[in-house]
């Protein structure tokens, strides 16, 4: 029986001016799970991920990570703060925000150095990660000169050098070309085989299907409306329609009008028997 990493109990979050972003959310995340947090734009997915990483704190409720409640004090007080930052990595949606060092090599060094690892260990991890990601040729390059796909790889590499047990990914497939997206899917699968716990927030259902087993679905009124197997959720078109993850498709045959929920990525033909 795997250990519980996160326990969220009746979490709510609201902005200072009062707009509710998350409303009474409760769930657990266990070791080795691959979880997809699904929801339409502005449903609170990204905010939930920030709460899991101890960057935001709930207006109500309680979050526990590795048995310790996440509060402003606990995430700033060693030794838990250092352990938590080592164990949990966060891949931001905006790679430009994540890549703030002058070179790729410095990016990969940053995390281990802040975690106070010895210099030799930092160098060893950087070399290993550059080889693992196939980005040795980018070592001295400045992040601003990288393509979108390269930035995403370097951002992920910068997390891996810290040796995390959990990776939180915020819309990881956004803006990636198909080849880089496929590379990301395969890399996340390889991480899963090492026992890594993955929590991905996305509204890309095909990416979620490739990278997760369990779905947490947020509605547009910021509540958790589904917690269960991902495939069952993807087959429940009424559920997906109700949370604006698919659209209702209407088409006409003569005087007959058909309206039904629809999940597709490209234009296609309908056939009616």
């Amino acid at each position: 029986m795997s250990n519980t990493i996160y326990t969220l109990s009746n979490i709510s979050y609201a902005y200072p001016r009062g707009a509710t972003v998350l409303d009474d959310i409760s769930f657990d995340v266990r070791e080795d799970e691959r979880v997809a947090i699904l929801g339409a734009n502005a449903s609170g997915k990204s905010t939930l991920l920030h709460l899991l990483d101890g960057l935001y704190f709930p207006s109500a409720g309680r979050i526990e990570a590795f048995g310790v409640e996440l509060t402003e004090e606990s995430v700033e007080t060693p030794p838990f703060s250092r352990e938590f930052r080592r164990k949990v990595g966060f891949l931001f949606q905006n790679s430009d925000a994540q890549l703030f060092c002058s070179s790729v090599e410095e990016e990969l060094q940053f995390g281990p150095l802040q975690l106070r690892l010895p210099a030799e260990e930092v160098e060893r991890r950087v070399e290993e990660t550059l080889r693992l990601f196939g980005i040795e040729h980018l070592r001295k390059r400045s992040p601003q000169s990288l393509s979108g796909g390269e930035k995403k790889k370097v951002a992920l590499a910068g997390l891996v050098t810290c040796g995390p047990e959990v990776i939180l990914l915020d819309e990881p497939s956004a803006g990636l070309d198909p080849r880089t997206q496929q590379w990301l899917v395969e890399f996340l699968e390889a991480l899963r085989r090492t026992g890594m716990t993955l929590v991905t927030c996305t509204h890309d259902l095909s990416f979620a299907a490739d990278t997760a087993d369990r779905a947490l679905i947020l509605s547009e009124d910021h509540r958790l409306v589904y917690d269960g197997p991902l495939m069952e959720a993807l087959e429940n078109l009424d559920l997906l329609l109700s949370v604006n993850l698919v659209h209702a498709h209407a088409h006409r045959h003569g005087s007959d009008v058909h309206v039904h929920p629809h999940l597709h990525e490209l234009a296609h033909d309908h056939r009616h028997e």
Partner: protein
Amino acid sequence: MRRRRRNAVRRALAGLGEALAREMAGEVRSDSRLSRIEPRAKVAGFIILIVGTTLIHGLIPLTALLMCVTAAVLASGINPGRLGRMWLGVPLFTLAIALPSVLNVITPGAPVITLTDRIGPWTPSEPISVTSDGLVVTARFLLRSTVCITLAFLLTSTTDRAALLNGMRRLGMPKAFGMVLAMMQRYLSVLLRAAEEIHLAKLSRTISEQSVRHEQRWVAAGIGSLFRRTHRLARETHNAMVARGYDGDLRIGRVPSLRAADAAWLAGIVVVTALFILMDARL
């Protein structure tokens, strides 16, 4: 006429942004002898040279120093066109600032060329003229600034940005200051791109010219929009740093010790600088 002027302004602004972005991502020669010098020793050496330059008064030593530095730039394999572009911009600007110093109203002395004895209704006590002392003062200022700027150009063209900032940190620059400089260099191109996008978005929706007042209001709104984006990016970047263990105390990588070659280079720079100062004193 107004449209031609506005187009010229737009082209100038776009050109400035492009030039700045090009220089920020500018070529760094990593195959020259200079690039092999340890960054801390290199930064210290160039600081010694720049300080030495400010202590030299004679035009001949300054000219000789400029020729030596130019030769070092060319020997480092740096594109001479880049040096030429840099000289066209910065020293010309310096000359424009210093030019009034040639006049006897700023620098008294023996007149070389008399310009006028009357300015509108005003008749000065002596004719306005270019003086020999004024020419020397202006030439000295121009030569000194050109040497210093060329030295800075040589340093930044033979040292990658990360190494340059590391060198400055290891010489005692506060870590926070170094981090601010690094972030500024990293994000300037991002913000320039955002500013360009805001401008292009507006252009793509502009059919007819608007009044100056309208354009001013639009520029103010654009500045506000860019500030909001900057603030959001700053918050996200801070979160990204905290998420990877940053706790307010920045830790940097291992400091390599100075090699004999680096110490010899630094000693050489001290000797060369002292020689030029001596030459200046003798002349």
